[in-house]
Amino acid sequence: MKIWRGQILSAAVLAVSLFLSGCNKPPGESFATSDVIKVGEFASMTGSEATFGQSSHQGTQLAIDDLNAADGVLGKKLELHMEDDQSQAGQPATVVRKLISSDGVVAILGEVASSRSLEAAPICQENKIPMISPASTNPKVTEAGDYIFRVCFIDPFQGTVMANFSRKTLKLQNVAVLTDAKSDYSLGLAKFFKEGFVADGGKIAAEQNYSSGDKDFSAELTAIKAANPDGIFVPGYYTEVGLIALQAKQLGITVPLFGGDGWESSALVPIGGAALEGDYFSTHYSPQDTSPAVQNFVKEFKAKYNSTPDAMAALGYDSAMILAAAMKTAGTTDGAKVRDALAATKNFAGVTGKITIDANRNASKAAVILTINNGQFQYVQTVQP
């Protein structure tokens, strides 16, 4: 009886190890025999930044469908493997490892939030799998290695754009900064905003921090109110931004709030309501842009999902399109060759504008500034790099 059980055990161990070694096969090898190209995506489909993940995933899926409708890439159909990281730290590493080793994807698309892209980047780099982040704007993301790209502008540019806009267009002198101390995105944006604003002769009246997940901001806002600023820069994500706007009004703060692309969400106005009227934020694109590329995309997106695409959806679309273009140029899905083709991307006509990948694998492109008017996002101006 005992020996028998031992045999079963060793057989099981053997089976498992065979299975694992099968999974660990480099994706390039197994691909030769398959007739689809597997592309991985990780996104925050649930949790506090759920609308980001849902939007970018819808955009990515639309691009994959468009590509497949036009006979795919290299004569093969694309297959999108999407994993939800629940907006939680720690999850991206798990799901990206799964995508690479168990699903055998040839490239990874994701994520919107910089903190979570930073988690996945070293894993993609280690496995030599090209990763394209649609909307992570923190500079550190692409510094993880030469396989990590993005299709959006970075925080130094976005921070400077908002500093110039608040100083020159809004004519603010004295602003307070309310930063999410737990988010790389927010910290980066705040840093570059402050540098730009002070360099332009402005003054920082007060600096306060909160932590993502907080619901009560009255303490921070009371301290800001005491400093009497003429504007408040809130480079956070929409859930907290909405609550901050509400509570600021409740405390009797009437100066405008402004922030970055973390505001861009269909959930922002339902949370913050009328308290957000007349506030500003910078982002990647506006569906009100009249260029044919944008209008085509908006029309297609509306037909498929029955809603207007936001910036995250447009960037998700561009991330998949730029990957497909690189695969076509490279003539293969081999990681190293796709990487080289991505790095050489110039003037790619994306929905979010002309994308050129610079030496640091960042996209250099224009930003737009939107305002909130009657509960709608309204185009104000475009800022070139």
Binding site: T46, S48, E220, A226, G252
Partner: protein
């Protein structure tokens, strides 16, 4: 000075809500000697009950108004009281004679079950929702810019009324006397003809109703952990202690966030807890208990 007073008002409002939740922890502990970790989830359910009830109530009563707001709060409290009683009946009652550790782990299980069920897209979903305005909003700006909004006044008023009502129930009614008897000695209370099951159900219902009221007053999910800390700080099992603990944690947190850095608000609030427990292990108002081994 104005800023300090304003921070104090903010802190008291947060503290009152923590106090309401802490009472539920402390009441259950007082009677059953175990921490009901699912209590924080009842608070969340209370907020969601209010979220879904508000549009329904708005069909009969004007909204936002004091009457409409109180109606939403009352129904949510009733719903959560029933949920609290059900949880006790299904999860904890079968374990009445089991070791305390088993019940404690079951409580954690119930808490996770509620959280993950509610996160499902077909239940409430994981995306944040904005709580409707159910109480009228006024803005009272005192001299030198001190602002007190109607929400804060309602928080203070409701907390005070509920605390007085709780005091009345515990000290002046028959069921309250039974609760105290049970907390003193459950076996002796049962021998004296007290129906312990009914008293325990009532305690769960009462605690859950208070948590639901807190959920309506403070939109969103606040970690129940903080209220638990407040209960321990005040001396777990002691009702005024739980209220005091809640206010202390709320005020400390707000002052730390306003004057030092909100990054440290939890660290300092919990640090104070550790110091107080080192000096007075039974909590601020807790009685020393000699444990027989």
């Amino acid at each position: 000075m104005t800023e300090f007073l304003q921070q104090l008002i903010n802190g008291l409002a947060l503290g009152s809500i923590l106090a309401l939740i802490a009472l539920g922890y402390t009441m259950v502990y007082g009677i059953l000697r175990f921490i009901n970790f699912a209590h924080g989830d009842i608070f969340m359910l209370g907020a969601f009950a209010g979220f879904y009830l508000a549009p329904k109530v708005a069909m009969f009563l004007p909204m936002p108004s004091i009457g409409g707001g109180l109606a939403v709060m009352g129904i949510s409290m009733a719903i959560c009281a029933v949920v609290g009683i059900l949880i006790e009946k299904l999860a904890y009652r079968p374990l009445r004679r089991s070791p305390k550790l088993t019940v404690l782990i079951t409580a954690i299980g119930v808490s996770l079950l509620i959280e993950y069920t509610c996160q499902n897209d077909h239940v409430f979903g994981a995306a944040p929702k904005s709580f409707p305005t159910i109480f009228p909003e006024y803005h009272i700006t005192q001299l030198s810019g001190l602002s007190l909004n109607s929400n804060q006044i309602i928080v203070f008023a409701v907390t005070l009324i509920l605390l007085l009502a709780l005091r009345f129930i515990v000290l002046k009614t028959k069921i309250g006397m039974a609760m105290r008897a049970l907390s003193f000695n459950p076996e002796a209370a049962a021998l004296m003809g007290i129906n312990t099951d009914i008293v325990i159900s009532f305690t769960f219902g009462l605690g859950s109703a208070l948590a639901a009221a807190a959920g309506i007053l403070l939109m969103g999910v606040l970690p129940g952990l903080k209220a638990f800390v407040a209960a321990v700080l005040g001396g777990i099992g002691n009702l005024p202690g739980a209220a005091l603990g809640g206010v202390i944690i709320g005020v400390t947190e707000t002052l730390v966030a306003g004057y030092i850095s909100s990054t440290y608000r939890d660290a300092i609030a919990f640090g104070i807890l550790i110091i107080i427990l080192l000096v007075k292990p039974s909590g601020l108002l807790g009685k020393k208990e000699i444990e027989k081994v």
